[in-house]
Symmetry: C2
Subunit: 371 residues, 2 copies
C-alpha cells in the first residue's frame, strides 16, 4: 500500500529542487517483500546496485538476506568494496587494460566475482592478478538473446570455462544470463514465455558443461520483470534491481493476478515555477532531472487528479490539467514518480530519504561517471 | 573543416571510459566563427552555459567578445560568479524562496541579471535583496510560443515592467523571448518562418512598452538554430549555446546554402567490450553516458564506415557494421559524436580536452544537480 508523501512537507522546504526523494517505508516494504519471495522459493538474491548506487540501500538488502550485490561498473564495485559490502559481482564484461587493472586491485583486497565473455580477458587478468592473493571467482556471461554481451554458443562456453579453470589465480564460478529485453515486456504471458526461452538457452550451456564434468555453481540473472517466472528452475540467484523503487516503467508491467507486488518509492521533488497559461503550469524538472528513456511520470502528487506531464527541455516539465482544475500555487512543490529509475538516480548526487516522523536524511549516490 | 581525432591516441590510453572528449581546435573555430558572425551583424553574444557548464569555455567565449554568459540554474550562476565571469544572466524564472534567497546572495556580490514572469517573484526578491547593495537588473521573460515560462500578453508585460521600475533595489533591463521549439526545426524555411513569428511577438511587447515610455534596453534570446535569422532585428543579443559542440541533433539542421557553419567538437570516448556476434560489436557507452533525447551518434570514429549505433541500456551501445566489415579489436577505443550535447555533458564530471600536439587536459563540468 503506497504511503502518499506530502510534497509540501515542512522538511522539504529547504531542499533545492529538482531533487530525488525516497520514501523509506515503501523502500523497506519492497526489500522485505522480495527477500520473502526469494526465500519462499529457495533462490538467492544478489540485487543490482546499478539501480540505486547506494551502499545504504545495499546494506538494507543484505540485512534482509541478500547473498551479495551485483554491480555494473568497475567504479561501482570499487565504491561498494570500499564500504565493506561483501558478495560483490561485476555483471559487465570488461575488456580494456586500465579497467582490468582496477578490477585486479579490488580483487586483491576483497572477495569479488566477475563475468567475462572472451579469452583475452582471462589472459590480461592473469598478467594483472597478484599471484599470491586469493583466487578470483570468474563466471561466463551468456548472450541470452539481448545481443549485447556474452558467449553465443555452448562450445565457446565450455572452452572458456576450461581456460578459467586452468588459469592460476582464478576459479570458474558459473554462468550469467541477463535478459534485459525480457524484463520490460508489458504483457505477462509474453514475459513468461520470454523468460522460459532464456532459461532453456542457459540449460543448454549448463548441459554441455555438465557433460564435460565442469560444475557451474552459480547461475545468475533475471530481474524485476521476470523474477516471478525465473524461480522455477535454472537460476540459483536473482539480480533484481528496480523492485526497490518501482518506477513509471515497471509500474506499467502486468502481473498475473494484478500489478507487480512492489510500491513506488522514488520521486522527483520539483517546484512550480510558472503559472501564466490557462490549463497548465511548469515545474523545474526536465531532461537533466529525469531519464528520458522511460514513460513520463505515471503518478504525481500535489497536482490536480488527471494531470499529465510533458518534458520541456533540460530544466522544465509542463503539466497539463483537466478542464476546470486550478494550478498549484507558484513556488509550491510537487512529487513526480521517476520515469526510468536507474538512469534517473544517476542524474543526482544524493537521495533525500523520508523516514519515520517525516524526518529527512541525505544518502549519497555513488560512482557516477568520473573525471 | 572537422579535425578527425584518433580514438586510439596514446594520450587517451589511461582515460576511463565512457568519457567526454573535446577537440579544442574545433571548439575554438566554432567560438571564433560565431563571434565574427555576431560582430559582422552588430549583435551582442551572451552564449548559454547550460550547454557546457564550463568556466573554461565561458572564458574563451568572453575572450572572443561575448558580453557575458547566460545561465539556466541558480547553481550555474553561483559557480560562474564564483569564477569571476561577468555579465551573467539567469534565463529561467525562479519561483521559490530558497532559490530566490541564493540568487539575492549572488546579486549582493556580483552584477547579474535575471528574468521573471510573475509579480510574486518581484515581491519576494524585494524582501530578500540587501537594500544597500547595487541594483539587480531584472528582465521580463515572454512566452514566444514554447508554452513553458513567460508572460503571455502585452498588458501583463507592461504592468510587470512598471512594478520592477517602482521597486527599490532593482531596475528594468528589457525582455527575453526564448524559442526552444524553433531552434531544432530541421527545415531551414520552416525555421526562418518560426523565428520571424517569434520576433513579431516580441515586437508587439516592445511596442506596448515604448508607447508607455518604458525602455527595454536588452532584447535577449535566439539560439544556434535560428541565430542566422535573428540578427535581422528585434534582438540586441543572442543566447546561442550548442554551436560550440555541434552535436548529432544540430548536425541534422539544414542551413540555406549548406549545413550550419560549425564543426563537431564533442565526442564520447568508449571502449569495445564485446565482439562475439557476427556483424556487430558492443561499446561501453549507453544511456548513462549519452543523452537519450537526441539522434544516435551521426559521426563515429574508429568504426567501419557505414556503421550504426543503437542504445543497449545503461552502460552499453551496440554498433552494427555493413556486410563484410571487420570489428575493431576488443579493448580498442571509438569516438561517438554526442547525441544531444547539453544533457550529455551533464552526465559527466569532466571534459578531456585534446589540444595542441594532442596533449590532453581535464576541465571540470560544474553545477550538476547537487545534494
Amino acid at each position: 500500500m503506497p504511503n502518499m508523501l506530502d510534497p509540501n512537507l515542512p522538511a522539504f522546504a529547504d531542499i533545492q529542487t529538482p531533487a530525488l526523494v525516497l520514501d523509506a517505508s515503501a523502500l523497506q516494504r519492497n526489500i522485505t517483500a522480495m527477500a520473502e519471495f526469494a526465500k519462499a522459493n529457495g533462490v538467492a538474491l544478489r540485487p543490482h546496485a546499478k539501480t540505486h548506487k547506494s551502499t545504504r540501500i545495499a546494506q538494507l538488502q543484505i540485512e534482509a538476506g541478500a547473498v551479495g550485490i551485483s554491480c555494473a561498473t568497475v567504479a561501482e564495485i570499487e565504491a561498494f568494496a570500499q564500504a565493506g559490502i561483501t558478495g560483490l559481482l561485476l555483471t559487465t564484461p570488461v575488456a580494456d587494460r586500465p579497467k582490468l587493472a582496477r578490477l585486479a586491485a579490488v580483487a586483491d583486497q576483497s572477495d569479488i566475482s566477475i563475468v567475462v565473455d572472451h579469452a583475452d580477458q582471462i589472459h590480461v587478468l592473469h598478467e594483472l592478478l597478484d599471484a599470491g592473493s586469493r583466487p578470483l571467482q570468474v563466471l561466463i556471461d551468456i548472450d541470452v538473446g539481448q545481443r549485447r554481451t556474452g558467449i553465443v554458443d555452448t562450445a565457446s562456453t565450455l572452452a572458456l570455462a576450461q581456460l578459467i579453470d586452468a588459469t592460476p589465480g582464478m576459479t570458474f564460478g558459473g554462468i550469467q544470463g541477463f535478459a534485459g529485453h525480457v524484463q520490460h515486456m508489458i504483457d505477462a504471458q509474453e514475459r513468461r514465455a520470454g523468460a522460459a526461452r532464456v532459461r532453456a538457452m542457459l540449460d543448454e550451456h549448463l548441459h554441455v558443461l555438465a557433460e564435460a564434468g565442469v560444475k557451474a555453481e552459480i547461475v545468475t540473472g533475471s530481474g524485476t520483470g521476470a523474477c516471478a517466472y525465473d524461480v522455477t528452475g535454472t537460476f540459483t540467484e536473482l539480480q533484481v534491481g528496480s523492485y526497490v523503487f518501482m518506477d513509471s516503467d515497471y509500474g506499467k508491467l502486468e502481473h498475473e493476478g494484478g500489478a507487480l507486488p512492489y510500491d513506488p518509492s522514488l520521486f522527483i521533488l520539483a517546484t512550480v515555477t510558472s503559472v501564466n497559461r490557462a490549463g497548465e503550469f511548469t515545474v523545474d524538472a526536465g531532461v537533466k532531472a529525469m531519464a528520458f528513456n522511460g514513460p513520463v511520470p505515471s503518478l504525481m502528487l500535489g497536482v490536480p487528479e488527471g494531470s499529465t506531464y510533458r518534458f520541456g527541455g533540460d530544466e522544465h516539465g509542463m503539466i497539463t490539467m483537466p478542464d476546470g482544475a486550478e494550478a498549484p500555487k507558484l513556488g509550491s512543490r510537487v512529487l513526480l514518480l521517476t520515469t526510468h529509475c536507474d538512469p534517473t538516480v544517476n542524474l543526482h548526487a544524493a537521495y533525500h530519504v523520508v523516514g519515520h516522523n517525516n524526518g529527512v536524511e541525505t544518502w549519497p549516490v555513488l560512482a557516477r561517471y568520473g573525471a
